[in-house]
Amino acid sequence: MVVSTYSENKIAEESSDHMSVKKESKKSLAYQTKDLNLWYGTDHALKNINLDINEREVTAIIGPSGCGKSTFIKTLNRMVELIPVVKISGDILYRERSILDKSYKVEDLRTNVGMVFQKPNPFPKSIYENIAYGPKIHGIRNKKVLDEIVEKSLRGAAIWDEVKDRLNENAYGLSGGQQQRLCIARCLAIEPDVILMDEPTSALDPISTLKVEQLVQELKKEYSIIIVTHNMQQAARISDKTAFFLNGEVVEFDDTNKIFSTPSDQRTEDYITGRFG
């Protein structure tokens, strides 16, 4: 870190970028939202959200309950459309194409954008079938190919060694942490580009949580990850960028190093230091 020589001017100046990490080479954008607004009936849940989300990075969304972070992540794979009273304005670009465009098939979007939920939700099938299910829907029937996908996905989710000898057992027999990694493996099986995670460790014990966090670090080498978390320390530990949502607005979006050391907005500082929320 640069040590400044003292002077009146230097004391007066407020540098905003001194703690930020060095500028990286420009990455492509996985997602871009432009003036995104969302209403549940008359409730204005998202207000003018403009975020550029880089590929192959972990982007954390933090904020108090009801701030719109889960709503936001559910707009990214259009899950929010399942709610009839929802109205959206603005735009969401995935790989530079508007996903709100009528011609964009939601099936195509969700082939590229996987999602992991708060509570592990394996299918009531065998471990093997949980993973093979997606590829089968996409027309893969060859047993050898499916075997390879299952192994690769389970290895990718760091659970292969724990389940390789019981692939035909029911997935419900796994622990919560294992079930969540199985769900991540299921997500990987369709080879997505982006993985959305909505509080993926909130139902897990601390060790399972650390395993999933470690997995996220591995996965970001190949996937773009957007994670909603209530756990601010988790956001600090695993993300590259952090967006702080409050009352449906993005108060601050910056490098995680900056957000957790010298945030620009007092509301961010107050939230991350636990003064409200």
Partner: protein
């Protein structure tokens, strides 16, 4: 609802412990100058003996701060509050060590008649003492203007140091038989000048706490 009430209470407690250490170091330095001025060897010995209390307080502050980090996982300014407290404790502990050094000089000079009155040395202490109080206020109140005043006052100590050393060098030429005493008095001036530099470090820590970046006020 006040959230993290216990954490904020503990941060306050950390500040209180620092002030306590600061008061102790200031008192030790004051007494060491008195021991020197009044040729009170007993008082000097007492100062040396009491220094273990400063060491204990210093360790307590470190342990307390480490526990706070481990248990509360502070971020942003809260994290800087604790890191800065650890750094300030180190600076104050060094000041307490300088009090011991001055006490040792007082013992070495013993009852020998002083080659010059202890006026400048006392003055250096008086300024350093004010700086220490002001620097701790600047830390607790997170007031960079007070921290800036501390840095300005350090210039006065530096000037006095230069003047006094020049004078001692001159006396040494006139009274070379007092070389041992003149050396001890020069050391004492140096200890006080260094103590003021450590106080200036505390002011720098306040800048870092408030601004989140490093400033060199000792320039």
């Amino acid at each position: 609802m006040v959230v993290r009430e216990k954490f904020h209470f503990d941060l306050k407690e950390l500040q209180n412990k620092l002030v306590e250490l600061g008061n102790f170091a200031d008192e030790a330095l004051k007494e060491s100058i008195t021991a020197l001025e009044t040729k009170n060897v007993e008082l000097a010995l007492e100062i040396m003996e009491n220094d273990t209390r400063a060491d204990v307080m210093y360790e307590e502050i470190n342990d307390f701060a480490i526990l706070l980090i481990a248990k509360q996982q502070p971020v942003a300014i809260d994290l800087r509050r604790i890191i800065v407290a650890i750094k300030i404790a180190t600076d104050i502990e060094r000041i307490a060590d300088f009090a011991v050094n001055v006490a040792k000089s007082a013992i070495r000079i013993g009852s020998e008649e002083h080659v010059k009155p202890i006026v400048h040395i006392k003055e250096m202490y008086e300024i350093t003492s004010k700086m220490l109080k002001l620097s701790l206020e600047s830390f607790i109140e997170e007031d960079v203007q007070k921290a800036k005043q501390v840095a300005d006052m350090d210039d006065d100590v530096d000037n006095l140091y230069g003047v006094t050393i020049q004078e001692l060098l001159r006396i040494n030429q006139e009274k070379p038989e007092f070389l041992a005493q003149i050396t001890q008095l020069s050391f004492t001036c140096r200890y006080l000048e260094r103590a003021a530099d450590h106080v200036t470090n505390i002011a720098e820590h306040t800048f870092y706490l408030v601004k989140g970046r490093h400033y060199d006020l000792n320039e």
